[in-house]
């Protein structure tokens, strides 16, 4: 592998890792709090992209604003999901997961009917052109994702470790009963977690919209990856998820460059299986998956 190709691949890996991380933290967080396993997480991601399509491509709103708009929009959808699906099925993780699998179909179909179903949606690239790093060319649109992801993850860390509600959320993730005894309202926490999960999936989709095929089904490819990330990271561990996300980002990108994406996914799954065998709790998890 030549140097430029290598640098190019490294850059691609970091971009992929940033995306996986941004998507997966929400999944891990939601799972940590009252075991909300969201099959529709990929569809949140998809809807985030459609927000950009509607506001930016159709509505002519500036791209950054459209991305910001995705945050509350999808957060609200997250809240609704929590209220209408996870709360009624609380205590039965499988029921929640399967119900959200149903939600996946609902959202995909709805998106297809509302915004049409043919080729990918047309979204002009806001920042054309590419940065030249050691002979490797990386489009600005991708470069942009890296700082964006850093900021988002930083914010989340700050929220979870410095803000009262965030700490409560972590307490709740560690031990719901104890948290409840301390007078933390579980309902508030689950809602908060799903809100954040939605926001992060949404903003990831929004950031990716200009460089990804925006279709109602764009979420499904991501779902398995995201769950592998969460399992490898250790079910409910945020830090673990981030670490695993970048690991998988590198694995996928390098294998794709050298072989192909099918092998990449296979290697990813094999990686997960190995982790399960040698360390069932995942990289940073406390509880057995």
């Amino acid at each position: 592998m030549e140097l430029t190709t290598f640098v190019q691949t490294i850059a691609n890996s970091v971009v992929a890792g940033s995306i996986y991380a941004t998507v997966a933290v929400g999944l891990a967080l939601a799972f940590g709090v009252m075991q909300m396993a969201n099959h529709a997480h990929g569809e949140f991601f998809m809807l985030g992209a459609y927000v950009v399509y509607v506001f930016y491509a159709l509505g002519g709103m500036p791209f950054p604003l459209a991305v910001l708009a995705a945050i509350p929009t999808i957060a609200i959808i997250g809240l609704l999901t929590e209220r209408l699906i996870f709360r009624p099925t609380r205590g039965n993780v499988l029921a929640g997961f399967m119900a959200t699998a149903g939600l996946t179909w609902v959202l995909q179909t709805a998106a297809g009917r509302i915004w049409g179903l043919a080729f990918m949606k047309m979204i002009p690239t806001p920042y054309m052109g590419a940065a030249n790093i050691a002979g490797a060319q990386i489009g600005w649109q991708r470069v942009l994702i890296i700082p964006a992801a850093c900021i988002l993850l930083g914010l989340l860390w700050f929220f979870l470790h410095r803000v009262r509600w965030g700490k409560a959320l972590r307490a709740c993730a560690q031990d719901p009963e104890a948290a409840a005894l301390q007078g933390i309202s579980i309902n508030k926490m689950t809602a908060l977690a799903m809100g954040i999960a939605g926001a992060y999936a949404g903003v990831a989709g929004a950031l990716l919209a200009p460089i990804h095929a925006v279709t109602p089904y764009m979420g499904r490819d991501l779902l398995i990856t995201a769950f592998i990330v969460v399992i490898v990271g250790g079910m409910s561990s945020i830090e673990g998820a981030v670490l695993a996300a970048f690991l998988l980002g590198f694995i996928h990108t390098f294998v794709t460059t050298i072989f192909d994406a099918t092998s990449a996914v296979m290697v990813g799954v094999a990686f997960m299986a190995i982790i399960l065998i040698v360390k069932p709790t995942g990289l940073m998890g406390r509880v057995k998956a």
């Binding site: 190709t5 043919a118 080729f119 047309m122």
Partner: protein, 434 residues
């Protein structure tokens, strides 16, 4: 008592089954007005592959409406109205077979529009037995043991074979040809034919791989392609969505050569890269625009665009919330051919229709006069072969403009030996795919 328990648990099972059947028997077969001929549309209408199915309905419907407006299809001095029944096969074999059975057994359709691939594999034994026409877009499903399967409305792989000639003709000094497409049923076959032709035209094929359908990020794929320093990057029949993303990456990673493909959806590509770049890369493909002045005025093509917009365009009664695509007319070509065949034969008897079509010197299609061809390629003359348009992207109109309209047959006859040899080496010749 355990026995009884088992029987008891059989009770609901049996009741349910009888329920299913009872209700299915009750649903009376669709009553046939004597002079109506039913045709079927069997493709993915939901799920990720619906993008290849749903749009086809619009084109077929436009054709059907035209025919019915004239009072029906004139066959053997009698007019027959056309009626279309759609069935969603979700791109899976089992459901496709189920659909074929429903369309034939319940609606007695004479012709089925489909996409091809595994659904074709799963349905052909049944349809061959029932002697029902099954028209796929792409000709790769044609096989000698499928007498009533006709294909070729979509011009791959013929366009993929002509592009190496076209680019060589315009740039004799270029040498290095890189080609890729998604790794699936049709991709492999079409790419084999393209590689064959590229070699026949004297290109060095420096990259000949498939990217898998799981690919979501094309940066690595393009990185790998550019590592081979190609003069031409050909995308074979890479699906339009992927084409857009790959071209974007080619642009970002600084590719300066020629881009060539089966279907470049100009409008969405131009969202990602400047029109000047597309013109500079001479990006050539086969799906012409029907509002291209090249067709002349008045023309069936221009009419079609108008009708489509009137019926399905923004604000129209049947607004489909999307722009017209190649798929909208791709399916219709096959329907036109079949209808013409029936008129020539003066009957709907499939064997007579095939006979008439093969005898015909020129069959009118929306891409121009076609002939039945393909014995050397598929072992049977069931490929509908209209002249093939090659369009390039122009910066001034930010659109495709037809550059040439080539008859495939003569070109192929001159080179077939080399090409077929390569295809056989790659194990993609029809008699090797069992």
């Amino acid at each position: 008592m355990k026995k009884k328990g088992f029987l008891k648990s059989l009770v609901p099972m049996t009741t349910m089954v009888s329920l299913v059947v009872a209700l299915s028997i009750m649903t009376v077969p669709t009553t046939q007005a004597a002079e109506t001929i039913n045709i079927g549309f069997l493709a993915a209408l939901s799920g990720p592959d619906a993008g290849w199915g749903l749009p086809g309905i619009t084109g077929n419907q436009i054709f059907i409406d035209r025919v019915n407006a004239e009072g029906g299809l004139l066959v053997g001095g009698k007019r027959y109205k056309l009626k279309m029944y759609a069935f969603d096969d979700e791109a899976t074999g089992s459901k496709a077979l189920q659909g074929a059975r429903q369309l034939v057994l319940e609606h007695d359709v004479k012709f089925i529009s489909a996409i091809g691939g595994t659904p074709a594999d799963a349905t052909h034994p049944f349809l061959s037995k029932k002697k029902v026409f099954y028209a796929t877009l792409i000709s790769t499903d044609i096989m000698p043991d499928r007498p009533y399967l006709i294909g070729g409305g979509d011009v791959t792989p013929r366009i993929d074979m002509l592009r190496p000639w076209y680019h060589k003709f315009n740039n004799p000094n270029l040498k290095r040809w890189a080609v890729t497409s998604q790794d699936e049923t049709i991709g492999r076959t079409c790419q084999a034919w393209e590689v064959g032709s590229a070699i026949a035209e004297g290109w060095d094929v420096v990259y000949d791989k498939h990217f898998s359908l799981e690919t979501t990020d094309f940066a690595p794929v393009v990185t790998a392609i550019l590592a081979t320093k190609p003069d031409v990057v050909s995308l074979n029949l890479t699906w339009p969505d992927y084409v857009t993303l790959i071209i974007e990456q080619l642009y970002l990673q600084g590719f300066k050569g020629i881009i060539s493909g089966n279907y470049i959806d100009t409008e969405s590509v131009l969202q990602k890269v400047p029109a000047e770049y597309m013109e500079a890369t001479k990006s050539a493909n086969s799906f012409p625009l029907f509002d291209d002045p090249w067709w002349g005025e008045p023309s069936w093509q221009h009419e079609f665009i108008k009708e489509w917009n009137a019926k399905y365009g923004p604000g129209a009664p049947g607004d489909v919330h999307r722009k017209i695509t190649g798929i909208d007319w791709d399916h219709m070509i096959m329907l036109m051919v079949w209808a013409h065949g029936a008129q020539l034969a003066g009957t709907f008897d499939p064997d007579k229709i095939l006979e008439a079509l093969r005898a015909a010197k020129s069959i009118p299609t929306i891409l121009g006069p076609a002939v039945m061809y393909g014995k050397e390629m598929w072992g049977i003359d069931n490929m509908v072969s209209p002249p093939i348009p090659i369009a390039e992207v122009k910066a001034d109109c930010k659109c495709k403009r037809i550059q040439a309209h080539i008859k495939f047959e003569e070109w192929f006859e001159a080179r077939k030996d080399t090409i077929i040899k390569v295809v056989k080496d790659k194990g993609q010749y029809f008699d090797q795919r069992k």
